[in-house]
């Protein structure tokens, strides 16, 4: 059980990194990685919402959809649950902690259409994870996203002052840098063999 959770954490953060290996959440990864501070803010917001969304979609799946045989409504239910959750979290934070709202508020609305959030819910149900495993997977997935976006923001801050050919400026050079980062993360592919041997 414990070993299983450790495996999920290592897999979600390093081996199958959500952004660089699974291509989930490319949107904020390219859009909000211009500066380190905003990247950190976005990362924390994603960790928070992904953990909550994993928990709540698991509850919906196993108390409502599966018992009633409504699996075909999965997509509709999940996206509505996530959209309401994000809205709800935004309102709660605004009421209870203005400081936190200042820090995370602007990132919350864009998170609804972040495919990493919906993606982790689908992965949880397809891998038949238990409640605890789902929550851990959501949290670790968010940490993996944060790791990637923060590292990438560091790269992009340097790219801004580098001389790039006109045609490559902006998105193209960012994508190519992301490709090189992805190559670096390939180094973790055999981590499991190494740890288990």
């Amino acid at each position: 059980m414990g070993l299983n959770l450790v495996a999920i954490v290592i897999s979600a953060i390093l081996v199958n990194n959500f952004v660089l290996m699974r291509f989930l959440g490319i949107c904020p990864f390219l859009g909000i990685s211009r500066r380190l501070s905003t990247a950190v803010g976005m990362g924390v917001a994603v960790i928070f919402v992904m953990t909550l969304a994993s928990a709540i979609t698991w509850v919906f799946q196993h108390t409502l959809l599966t018992p009633l045989g409504l699996d075909y409504l999965q997509t509709v239910v999940y996206i509505l649950v996530i959209a309401s959750l994000v809205q709800f979290v935004e309102m709660v934070i605004q009421k209870t902690s203005p400081a936190l709202y200042q820090a995370l508020g602007i990132y919350l609305p864009i998170i609804t259409t972040n495919c990493a959030i919906l993606g982790v819910a689908f992965i949880n149900v397809r891998e038949h994870y238990s409640f605890l495993e789902s929550v851990v997977n959501g949290f670790a997935g968010g940490v993996g996203f944060t790791l990637a976006i923060v590292l990438f923001a560091g790269v992009r801050e340097r790219l801004d002052v580098a001389e790039t050919p006109a045609a490559l400026q902006g998105v193209p050079i960012a994508l190519i840098s992301a490709g090189l980062m992805s190559v670096a993360f390939f180094g973790f592919q055999n981590l499991f063999h190494f740890l288990l041997s």
Binding site: M21, L80, N114, L118, A178, G179
Partner: protein, 208 residues
């Protein structure tokens, strides 16, 4: 009629969703490992885009402005479910390969962006023309990316079960191209090439 043609053509080159607006990047990077995967992903997105554009345009008069985004999302999720179930029934192998990216069409920004920027303001026929054009532009871009990746990564191109280059091209395949890093690099270089050809560089509006 000319208006319809203009709306249709707009999505293919001038405002190509993938290469110009940089929308819908997640599925474009994830499923472009082989040309058939890219093609079917494009077809699925085109269907959802055209269907939701049509329906949203038809009901645009009755949706209250304040709750329009949740309404759009429900419409889009319905069409995404239709595609998911249909592919599962008729193309089970492809459905397995595309995996979670079929239901994830629901958060593909191209669709919500067109609903918000176009379908909710224009008549039904124009919305359909726009959906078909944008869908075709997305499919063409995806087919381009995935064929380059497949040729470089496997030294061959398999279209509908038939290898186009017979026994394969005479070079050692660079496997990294069909792995995640290849997706980023090929996609970046294609956007750069298009910028170079049309002498125009755009700032990103990047999203899923």
């Amino acid at each position: 009629m000319r208006g319809l043609l203009h709306d249709f053509r707009n999505g293919i080159i001038p405002e190509n969703p993938l290469l110009r607006l940089v929308l819908g990047t997640c599925p474009a990077l994830a499923v472009s490992t082989a040309v058939m995967n890219g093609f079917w992903m494009g077809v699925a997105v085109t269907f959802v885009l055209t269907g939701s554009n049509l329906l949203i345009s038809l009901i645009r008069g009755v949706i209250p402005a304040r709750v329009r985004i949740p309404c759009f999302i429900v419409v889009i999720a319905t069409f995404a479910t239709v595609v998911d179930l249909t592919m599962n029934a008729f193309l089970p192998e492809m459905h397995r390969i595309l995996g979670i990216f079929v239901p994830l069409i629901v958060v593909n920004c191209i669709i919500l962006a067109r609903a918000e920027a176009f379908a909710s303001r224009k008549p039904a026929l124009n919305a359909v023309a726009d959906g078909l054009g944008m869908g075709l532009g997305f499919t063409l871009a995806l087919v381009a990316i995935s064929s380059i990746r497949e040729i470089l990564g496997t030294a061959n191109l398999v279209v509908a079960g038939w290898p186009v280059f017979g026994a394969g091209l005479p070079f050692n395949p660079a496997q990294v191209m069909v792995m995640p890093p290849g997706a980023f690099i090929v996609f970046g270089l294609i956007i750069a090439a298009l910028n170079l050809l049309t002498r125009r560089s755009r700032r990103p509006g990047a999203c899923c």
